[in-house]
């Protein structure tokens, strides 16, 4: 694809596919209804479910945006139409700001320090004005920059008559976005230049801002616990889930009229390699954190893992006779202990986010086979949804470890899924819609 840089791509406007759109809309309606009902019946569970899904989709869409920026910064040509899939996922970034504003009303149910005051010594950081100004500021800035990014990258695709077949709202938007059209070549060059300036700004803002956002929104739920790596770890989960979503969407769109021809075996291989490699890095980040906490064995650090992994990965065996030491393999392991805390959930997350993607995608053939790559991507996406639950729920609800799978949380999750799907479909089908290389 040496001609990728000079190839001219144009949008291929289409319609929202039915019945998929109706199903997603119905899911959204069910989710909103469950949320409204839950607020009166069980606000604690409802807000935790809202928060989990808010974090999951915010991290996923921001991850997609960061991948797009990374493609621009390194001048990547291999993604081809996968880039447009990532754009569709990143279209959620501005919406996560709106959802962050909604979350403001649930703060008391989520953050112990907001309800009862911060622990001594953390008042300067954990207070409502600092918290909401920083976090909503970060979300607003990322949302704004995402919109600028998507508009810049779409403008060259819309002009030159490509949007003629659009109607109504999309047509008006396309006309508005392509004012002062200077011709294909000039527009492509202007977009390249602008994206090259914009991308590093977004990446730096994400690295600094999103880490702080995660510290605030997820880590501070357990206000006495702290970890420097946590922001990067959760953000990395977002990037990996974005890669998994791109893989899944590539597999699903491999027969699509607009971009199907661009989804080649090589591209599936490449995105599969990315998912494989990124899952290793996710495991690496987790282990780096786990190892020092396990070794240090300090109560203020181990509490977080104790709630999630259960006791047997943090056993302090104390001083024991050398006979015991020689039988080092006696780990004192028992399956029953997995029932404590959220240990089973941790095992499932570990399997979904690392074990399965690593061992299944190890070879070349599985990465190139849609029927293997797609299901693995689903497993990873599901694994990260569970991982977000695992990070959030045990901070508040320590005794019962199954509430996150109750009817209200599941319906709220489906509502989020419906909304996310609708945004993706609208972005990729109606406006600005998928772009493909022009044939002439």
């Amino acid at each position: 694809m040496s001609s990728a840089q000079s190839a001219i791509e144009k949008v291929r406007p289409g319609r929202l596919p039915q019945p998929l759109t109706s199903i997603l809309a119905a899911l959204l309606a069910v989710g909103v209804a469950a949320f409204a009902y839950g607020l009166s019946s069980d606000p604690q569970v409802t807000w935790l479910a809202f928060h989990t899904n808010f974090i999951y989709f915010a991290a996923l869409s921001n991850g997609a945006l960061i991948l797009l920026c990374a493609f621009v910064i390194v001048g990547a040509k291999w993604p081809g139409p996968l880039r447009h899939i990532a754009e569709g996922l990143a279209a959620w970034v501005p919406i996560s700001f709106l959802l962050g504003c909604v979350g403001y009303f649930g703060g008391d149910y989520l953050f112990e320090w907001l309800r009862e005051g911060a622990v001594h010594g953390k008042e300067a950081w954990l207070n409502a004005p600092r918290f909401y100004i920083t976090d909503l500021g970060v979300l607003a800035a990322l949302g704004l920059l995402a919109m600028v990014f998507l508009k810049t990258t779409s403008r060259p695709l819309l002009g030159g008559g490509a949007a003629d077949s659009m109607t109504g709202f999309a047509k008006r938007m396309a006309d508005g976005w392509t004012t002062n059209w200077r011709g294909d070549r000039e527009e492509i060059e202007a977009a390249h230049a602008k994206l090259a300036k914009l991308s590093p700004v977004i990446v730096i803002l994400f690295a600094m801002g999103f880490s702080v956002f995660i510290f605030d929104q997820v880590m501070s739920m357990e206000q006495t616990w702290y970890s420097n790596l946590f922001g990067a770890f959760v953000s990395w989960g977002g990037i990996l889930s974005a890669v998994a979503a791109i893989s899944l969407m590539s597999v699903l769109h491999r027969n699509s009229e607009a971009i199907g021809s661009g989804i080649t075996e090589e591209r599936l291989h490449d995105i599969g390699k990315m998912m494989f490699a990124f899952s290793i890095f996710w495991m690496y980040l987790f282990f780096s954190q786990y190892l020092v906490i396990w070794y240090g064995n300090l109560p203020e650090e181990t509490q977080f893992f104790l709630d999630r992994l259960g006791p047997q990965f943090l056993n302090d065996k104390g001083f024991t006779p050398i006979e015991w030491a020689l039988s080092w393999s006696d780990w004192n392991f028992s399956w029953e202990r997995f029932d404590q805390n959220y240990a089973w959930l941790s095992m499932v997350v570990w399997a979904c986010c690392w074990l399965i993607p690593f061992w299944v995608l190890l070879g070349e053939k599985p990465k190139k086979t849609p029927w293997i790559l797609g299901p693995v991507a689903v497993v990873v996406l599901l694994g990260f949804w569970l991982e977000r639950n695992l990070l959030i729920w045990p901070s508040v609800i320590k005794q019962v470890n199954t509430l996150y799978l109750g009817p209200i949380p599941i319906l709220i999750a489906l509502g989020f899924f419906g909304a996310f799907g609708l945004v993706f479909l609208f972005y990729t089908r109606v406006f600005p819609s998928f772009a493909a290389e022009e044939e002439n």
Partner: protein, 167 residues
Amino acid sequence: MPTVVSIFDRPSDVAKAVRKLRDRGHDQLTTYSPAPFTEVEDAEDPKPSKVRIFTLIGGLLGLVTGFAIQIWMSLDWPLKIGGKAYASIPAYVIVGFELTILFGGLATFLGLMLVGRLAPGRLDKAYSKRFSAEEFGVAVDCKDSDVAEIDALMRAHTAKEVHVVQA
């Protein structure tokens, strides 16, 4: 068995010539190029290299060595550290992981040398220093009776010179 060595300037020509050769059933061929080119590789469509077996064995050996050496040492000279068991697995993962990579990497290097016949011993008869500078080579092992055919074929595919070396 004679080896016909032809020399090319461009990777696309090499790819075409190799495809032609394979179509005619001359599978015993080797290409030489100063840098990796996917088009040449696609045309040659080689079997997976044996080097990866070296990597696998080296990696597993490194993993076992990494854990075994630490467990053995900590049991041989027991020191109580941080209230952990003498031989505690999580702390040993790092050295185990690093030795996997080190041994795997060294074994790959060794495998590359042996399988590619770079060392020890003498280099391929067909190899020339030009292939490490800016030219491409295609070496075909064939029967005496086929030499003339291949010679003509390669010249038809813009080989700039063709010569025969005896194995």
